[in-house]
Amino acid sequence: MKQKKGISTIVATILTINMAIVMGGIMMAWAMGLIGSYQGGTQIQYMLIGERAQEAIVIENVWFETGTPKKITVFARNVGVREAKLVSIYVGGSSYTPNGTWPYTLTVAGKVALQITYAWASGESYLIVVATARGNQARGEWTP
């Protein structure tokens, strides 16, 4: 008990070490959380870009069908390696909803005929665009 100075030194050292360990731990946890959060967000972004790159569609053919009412049938094919969810079809800049199931999930190498009612005029050119949920497009000018 005569060595009060020594005991206080021990206590102080232990306290200092403990505090350093705790603070370091807190910082490690914070830093790891930060990195994990960054990695999670970036991974999702990479995944979305990758999926989008794996998806590809084309318009194979367009039929301008006579009759009442006049119709347009658009043949779209999935030429990518990932299924494509078709969500929009535009003719001349306006969006249309085709007959049947819509939106339509197009399997890999699959083909679908999308038929819309449209009063087309012979000799005019129409810009036809089919878009997917991932933001890919297939487009072309077609003239009946």
Partner: protein, 331 residues
């Protein structure tokens, strides 16, 4: 107590542990980033490969058969990749569209006949079609519409051709030259031309791969059905004259320059004007239009007698270079 007495050693361990931990974390982050980028690049490389294959898929449709009950055609793959034909889009001229699925593989550089596919066809059908591949490319035959009716398919080569353009058939009268502008001869309509002496010229192309020599027997025969309704009558008969000939007036006669004894040469594959006016093969008199007013239609036969230059056999051939419909109105 010994440890506690070495305060520098304790702090060194703690800081060392933290340093290693931070280094490991930084390494992990960099490694993770690298692997993500690598995976991303791999996906894009695969996509570019698919795109390359798609752009290098090339098919051509040949020999579409007609007069058949179903569609028959040949596909040649002249691209760099094998093609899987999966679609047949069919369209009739009446607006009817049909779709059929196909399953035909065509290796690069090979040709395949695709027979008896599509709808049942009638002889009266007129249609077009396209084929689509699994890569999303679509190909159509060269001809826009296909007539299923059987048609003659023979081809006959002709030694001379006439291009039916404005300058291909022209004429001048006495006192005129061939300096442009020269009048076209398809339709002659001028009362002042009656009784005038005339020279025609036609621009003929030699389709031989050799030069040819035109002979003095070449002639132009203008036959009209208008003189007598039931009988074709010869309106004018003209023989070949010299190149660039004009009409001269000598001793009360209208004359043209005759073709030289060696004939007129038309080089291989070239076009030359051939002049007609002489009333007979062996004279130099220019043809004269009817002195009375006339409105007549003519079938104008351009007959060519010729030899192939340097042909050892010296064979004389005869051919009709053109049959021209023309009108002369001088009333």
């Amino acid at each position: 107590m010994n440890l506690l007495s070495k305060k520098r050693g304790v702090s060194g361990i703690i800081s060392g542990v933290f340093l290693v931990a931070v280094a490991v974390m930084v390494f992990n982050v960099l490694a993770w980033q690298f692997f993500q980028a690598d995976a991303y690049n791999r996906i894009f490389h695969e996509r570019q490969l698919r795109e390359w294959e798609r752009y290098n898929e090339r098919l051509i449709i040949l020999d579409v058969a007609v007069g058949t009950e179903r569609l028959n055609f040949t596909v040649k793959n002249y691209g760099a990749v094998s093609a899987h034909v999966v679609d047949l889009f069919f369209g009739f001229s009446n607006g009817t569209h049909l779709y059929y699925a196909l399953d035909v593989w065509i290796a690069s550089g090979t040709t395949k006949r695709i027979a008896s596919v599509g709808p049942k066809l009638l002889l009266s059908d007129v249609y077009d079609f396209k084929i689509g591949t699994e890569r999303g490319n679509v190909f159509a035959p060269a001809q826009q519409s296909i007539y299923n009716q059987l048609q003659p398919t023979g081809q006959q080569s002709v030694p001379f051709t006439l291009t039916f353009v404005t300058d291909a058939f022209q004429f001048i009268l006495y006192g005129e030259t061939w300096n442009p502008p020269v009048k076209s001869a398809w339709y002659i309509n001028n009362p002042a031309y009656k009784g005038k002496h005339i020279v025609f010229r036609v621009n003929i192309t030699n389709t031989y791969p050799s030069d040819v020599v035109l002979l003095s027997g070449c002639n132009m025969l203008l036959v009209t059905p208008d003189i007598e309704a039931s009988t074709m009558k010869i309106g004018y008969r003209m023989y070949i004259s010299n190149e660039d000939t004009t009409i001269t007036y000598e001793q009360g006669k209208y004359k043209v320059q005759p073709i030289p004894s060696q004939g007129q040469v038309i080089p291989a594959g070239k076009s030359r004007y051939v002049y007609f006016s002489q009333t007979a093969e062996n004279n130099t008199f220019a043809t004269q239009l009817d002195a009375n007013g006339e409105n007549r239609n003519y079938s104008n036969y351009v007959a060519i007698f010729y030899k192939i230059k340097n042909d050892a056999s010296g064979t004389i051939f005869g051919a009709t270079a053109a049959i021209i419909a023309m009108q002369i109105k001088t009333t």
